[in-house]
């Protein structure tokens, strides 16, 4: 091999390494998230672990409190949003109290170009709210809104669907037929 050929081969190897490094950086970008509640995940790029902040009821106070959770996520923001909502539905792992009714599943999540999240839940989200007070309905909606707005700053509002359709109200007291503004509901 000539000297020029060896140089070209070395350059090629370096180039391939650079490509691999660039792809790897983007593929696992989700692992590099900082800590704290201000983390922003606007665009899901790769598959990996993502730390999110979830909001549950604090039994010692009349408000929400946070729990950090590492979630395995897919390539799309909607997948991460679905994972965060599913984590809320599964309930807290620590001392906090569950808000989403037991047995609730996340069926589908879609995010449109205007930052409106359409989250479709199983029937338990509504049936499990029978007998709840206004405070429990407010906590539920605020838990969704705060979890979404803190972790995904590009999102604007939330449309809650139950079995594919909007419900006038989840527990019979608060209007959920319209999109919930994520800022208003924090």
């Amino acid at each position: 091999m000539t000297r020029a050929g060896r140089i070209l081969r070395s350059a090629g190897i370096v180039f391939v390494f650079l490509i691999i490094a660039f792809l790897g950086r983007n593929l696992f970008r989700g692992e590099r998230g900082g800590t704290g509640t201000g983390q922003v995940v606007d665009e899901g790029i790769g598959i990996g672990m993502q730390a999110v902040t979830l909001y549950f009821a604090d039994p010692e106070r009349a408000d929400l409190a946070t729990e950090r959770r590492d979630l395995i996520v897919g390539a799309e923001t909607s997948t991460l949003v679905a994972a965060a909502l599913e984590a809320l539905a599964r309930g807290p792992e620590g001392r906090l109290a569950r808000i989403v009714p037991d047995g609730t599943r996340v069926r589908h999540v879609f995010i449109d170009r205007d930052g409106v999240v359409y989250a479709d839940f199983s029937a338990e989200l509504s049936s499990g709210m029978a007998g709840a007070g206004l405070s429990q309905e407010i906590l539920l909606l605020r838990s969704f809104a705060r979890t979404l707005s803190v972790n995904f700053r590009s999102l604007k509002s939330l449309v809650i669907l139950v079995e594919g359709r909007t419900k006038p109200s989840l527990g019979g007291r608060i209007d959920t037929s319209q999109p919930l503004d994520l800022v208003d509901w924090q």
């Binding site: 010692e60 799309e76 007998g131 007070g133 407010i138 594919g164 209007d175």
Partner: protein, 508 residues
């Protein structure tokens, strides 16, 4: 040179045939060249009319795939786990394939349709004829698995007026107008074939039913106008549309007259007893019994003020249940005792939205308050909370919607109609005043800290036209919650009476 020209001319027909073969044309209509045109889309749910570009060839009309996708609401209901939508209409089926999970359909998306499709440049046009064939059958939108129907949407093409009518028709109840020329006259204008009947005629509630017509999707209310009519509303009923209103106390009778071209039912109210004596107007019947009122007749109307109390729940809606207390039962008992005491001590007229264990919608509750012309509306509740530290009373007022009022469709918009669920909008400041006084008095009476006044979008409040408060007298899940619910009812009633008395003196 001449020989070369002849050779080219010889191949011209072949060249022309080849060109024709690669330029797509509507199948079966190759002889017609579609021409551009415009059509309007009319949404039955009251959204503003839009104009879109169409192609026309003879009786055939074509809409762009992008417009059709928007018309049927595909972007709104698209599911992230599906890459294709199947649109079904009668025997026709059309598959829309999205090129990403966000972009629903654009001009370059592949589209398969076993019916004629026209492609002009980059745009794809879908013949609306497949909708005509469906004869108003719902145009279904399903996911690829076919197992999750999201909605059915009736779509009709009105060829004569170039209208694509989407959704349930807005109806042929055209207008309800108070006449400026003839005091006391209300005209209800209807087009098409219609029948009507007078279902009730009482000062508190006149009910006119229009059969065989469709009205707007929501209920609407007219301003009080010349003072003779109160709380004019339209409501959809299974057989058509119901128009209801109440009349002022000085009205002696009414006259109804049906007119044609344009179709109109005219209601004329009179305050002149000569009209009654001469038979020109019909006297009203005695008060209807179907408005919820207190039983036993222990509430004489000794004052000019009217208050409506709304006990939470009823029927299957039992509300908060904790520590042996059921919200719907406890609130009914509280409301009945409070009504009697308010009547005796403040001399006000009190109506209950329910005086037995029966279910009511939020709209019915607000309608009772509107129909009786109440000055205050108080919805009585308990709360439950995961935290035992949440103890005291809380009041909620309606959260005002930001931005402009809900648009009212068609001609109704020019007549001063407002959306039914925006009745509370102007009353919120006064509601705050009352709410603050209520929680302050309750907090002092029960020796617990007040949770204050909050704003939330509660349908039970939003349609009421007078100051309306959602009052949680106690939190059942708190330590001692059942004691405050059962054992301290007199203290709760005393506190609410003091608050209402204070509020009435404040606003005078």
């Amino acid at each position: 040179m001449r020989v070369a020209s002849v050779r080219i001319l010889r191949f011209l027909p072949v060249l022309a045939m080849s060109l024709l073969a690669i330029v797509p044309v509507p199948s079966g209509r190759a002889e017609e060249v579609p021409t551009p045109g415009r059509a309007r889309i009319v949404y039955g749910d009251g959204r503003p009319t839009e104009e879109v570009a169409i192609l026309e060839s003879g009786r055939q009309v074509w809409f762009s795939a992008r417009d059709l996708s928007a018309i049927i609401g595909a972007p709104r209901y698209w599911r992230s786990d599906l890459k294709r939508l199947i649109l079904k209409s009668g025997a026709h089926q059309m598959t829309l394939v999205a090129d990403s999970d966000v972009a629903i359909l654009d001009a370059t998306s592949p589209l398969h349709l076993p019916a004629p499709v026209h492609q002009l440049g980059d745009a794809i046009w879908i013949p609306v004829e497949i909708l005509l064939d469906a004869d108003q059958a719902p145009f279904g939108l399903n996911g690829l698995d076919g197992a999750s129907p999201w909605f059915d949407l009736p779509i009709r093409w009105n060829a004569g007026e170039h209208l694509l009518e989407v959704g349930e028709p807005a109806g042929n109840l055209e207008a309800i107008a108070l006449s400026s020329a003839s005091p006391g006259r209300l005209d209800i204008q209807v087009r098409g074939t219609w029948e009507w009947r007078l279902a009730a005629a009482d000062r508190d509630r006149v009910v006119l039913r229009f059969m065989g017509i469709a009205g707007p999707g929501d209920s609407f209310r007219l301003p009080s106008g010349n003072g003779l009519y109160r709380d004019i509303r339209t409501t959809l009923i299974p057989e058509g549309v119901e128009v209801t209103f109440a009349v002022a106390a000085n009205v002696v009778g009414y006259r109804l007259q049906r007119l044609e071209r344009p179709g109109r039912l005219s209601v004329t109210l009179s305050v002149d007893s000569i009209d009654l004596a001469s038979g020109r107007v019909t006297p009203f019947a005695s008060p209807l019994p179907d408005l919820p009122t207190m039983e036993g007749g222990f509430m004489p109307a000794t004052g000019t003020d009217t208050i409506v109390l709304d006990p939470a729940g009823g029927g299957n809606e039992r509300g908060v249940r904790a520590k042996g207390v059921v919200e719907s039962e406890a609130m009914l008992e509280l409301a009945m005792n409070l009504a009697r005491r308010l009547s005796e001590e403040l001399g006000v007229t009190v109506h209950l939205t329910r005086d037995a264990d029966r279910a009511l919608s939020d709209e019915q509750r607000a309608a009772v308050a509107n129909n009786v012309g109440a000055m205050l509306f108080i919805s009585l509740h308990y709360d439950a909370h995961p935290s035992p530290s949440v103890v005291g009373p809380r009041a909620v007022v309606s959260r005002n919607r930001p931005g402009p009022r809900t648009s009212v469709p068609g001609r109704l918009a020019n007549l001063g109609f407002t959306a039914w669920n925006e009745g509370q909008r102007e009353a919120v400041p006064r509601a705050y005043q009352l709410a603050d006084r209520l929680v302050t008095e309750l907090s002092q009476a029960l020796s617990v800290p007040s949770r204050g006044v909050e704003e939330w979008p509660l349908p039970v409040l939003s349609a009421a036209t007078m100051p309306a408060v959602y009052l949680e007298v106690a939190t059942l899940t708190a330590p001692g919650g059942e004691r405050r619910a059962k054992g301290e009812q007199d203290a709760v009633i005393n506190a609410i009476i003091r608050a209402i008395d204070h509020y009435r003196r404040e606003i005078r």
